[in-house]
Subunit: 351 residues, 2 copies
Amino acid sequence: MMKSAFGPNRRVVLGGLAGLLSLRVAGAHGQTGAGDLPPGDPLPSWNDGPAKAAIIELVKSTTDAANPNFVPPEARVATFDQDGTTWVEHPIYTQVIYCLERVPAVVREKPELKEVEPFKTVLSGDRAAIEKLPTDELLKILFATLSGMTVDEFQAQVSAWIATAKHPRWDRLYTELTYQPMLEVMRYLRANGYKTYIVTGGGQDFVRVYSERVYGIPPEQVVGSAGGVTYGYAKDGRPILTKESKLLLNDNNAGKPEGIHLEIGRRPVIAFGNSTGDRQMLEYTKAGDGARAALLVLHDDAEREYAYGPALGLPDTKVGAFTQDLYDEAKKDGWFVISMKRDWKKIFSFD
Amino acid sequence: MMKSAFGPNRRVVLGGLAGLLSLRVAGAHGQTGAGDLPPGDPLPSWNDGPAKAAIIELVKSTTDAANPNFVPPEARVATFDQDGTTWVEHPIYTQVIYCLERVPAVVREKPELKEVEPFKTVLSGDRAAIEKLPTDELLKILFATLSGMTVDEFQAQVSAWIATAKHPRWDRLYTELTYQPMLEVMRYLRANGYKTYIVTGGGQDFVRVYSERVYGIPPEQVVGSAGGVTYGYAKDGRPILTKESKLLLNDNNAGKPEGIHLEIGRRPVIAFGNSTGDRQMLEYTKAGDGARAALLVLHDDAEREYAYGPALGLPDTKVGAFTQDLYDEAKKDGWFVISMKRDWKKIFSFD
């Protein structure tokens, strides 16, 4: 659900971070695992309400062979946006933090960058100055941190970072800041024969590093913005795949149903999002035959998490905007809006 | 295993058929199903020999928790090229026949094309003239038959054709011309926790239409050459995905490991191919840690199927060439060459 700064003709960049360039950057241990379904209420962190009822009704009707809306197991596809839908996206997308925090390592490898902008500013740690970096300068940070290495090197870099980096507000690992109610939905769907997919505007290669451990979703079920890779050979002749800076799939907005077609080839039966970047995925889902469900997480809980819209008069944001227009479409087309404040008993597993 | 006529800078065309343009075009009921594994010999259509032994040894070592080469179930990935590896590709790729045979329907919808080349020549049925069509004219056929429609329309078109079109030599459905020994390998691997994938130079959308029924491989496990799709709305407001003529992934040669990374994100443990277009996929597979296996089908059986190389002095071909250079690399790097003549007791289920 990242908002894209690139039109279709500006496929210049960076798997997963195309959208991030429209932003001015603002500013743990233990895993929220994804094990078996607990007995009893399949969604214990949810308050009773229309959203919870809609999820349970969809699952019941599509898995009952006597129901006209029965869906055979192989077609049970559920898609989840990530940022703002399954984990915290404020004040800024986790992957942007990764890119910024990766800069010192990049400069250690290429010391000549130390005095060169924008690396110099990022190294200074001067947040106000970093926030003022123009888009094309930020682009250089993304290029330098998300391309040029082999896919194995990138995986190791992200893996090391995500194991220790913490969100400043909670002082917890980013992977702990997944939403417990959504983890329950994923487990509930899988227990009912659904295949769960992440369909994210974030980088496919980035999310794949931790998706299995954090969400129980294997790498082959992560669809995300994707840069090209190029097959070649290392000096010792070993085959390698190198990450390139050209964008193959900008998995935002219309790119979400397009990416779903490319990598899954089936229309979702149920889809979850939280922002305008998810609109087309939800439209595409609802347009299928039989029972389909589309749900949007509304961040209306500043106390326990964040509050932003601008729908319903909530504060506006450039990170995961949920516009009034999107809200109106949801109401008109029978999508469900999940109120974090009212629908979720708890937000994080540690609450 | 299609040979590509396009360099990386000529991404102009046509999911799945990029390779076909380098060719001059030369020229069934019941399904080869993919059910459960029969008891006893898991590969009954195979003669004993190094290839059969290699497959069984790989499966045994990677599924035995006490073996140092044990692979956890989620990482058991097996990839299969399609044309020439799992079904007949001579005298010409099935999808090319599809495109040519689709021309009358295209002209019915756009009668103005009737007197326009290359449609006029294709409609004439004059095989010699069709074979002489220049590449850019053939390109128009591919454009007209593989793009411009919605993905649902395309699926219906292929589905109707593949249900009735027959191979002239056997007078059988193309889907009956799958290789029984390879269907057994797929079943054997799946019975041992492997996820089986098609990784084809052919069109991803084309193969997905029948892959589940014919190979037991669901659409989300088909990686192939893929054109872009564009999300939009029909006149009635319904969301649609329209097939475009721009090529996103040319899934041949280096494009195979690149496509595997894009759509699977895991390195295969075992991979099967039959031509130079599979070379990089097999290299990439073998370069992984632990036990890995790479196998190439050699078409050396003119009596029961076809004989072509040019490896080992077999007749040369532009359709699925297995060069001496590829053969030498296979021998040097410990890949296995499957002789259709010696290794396969039967080729088709109806033999």
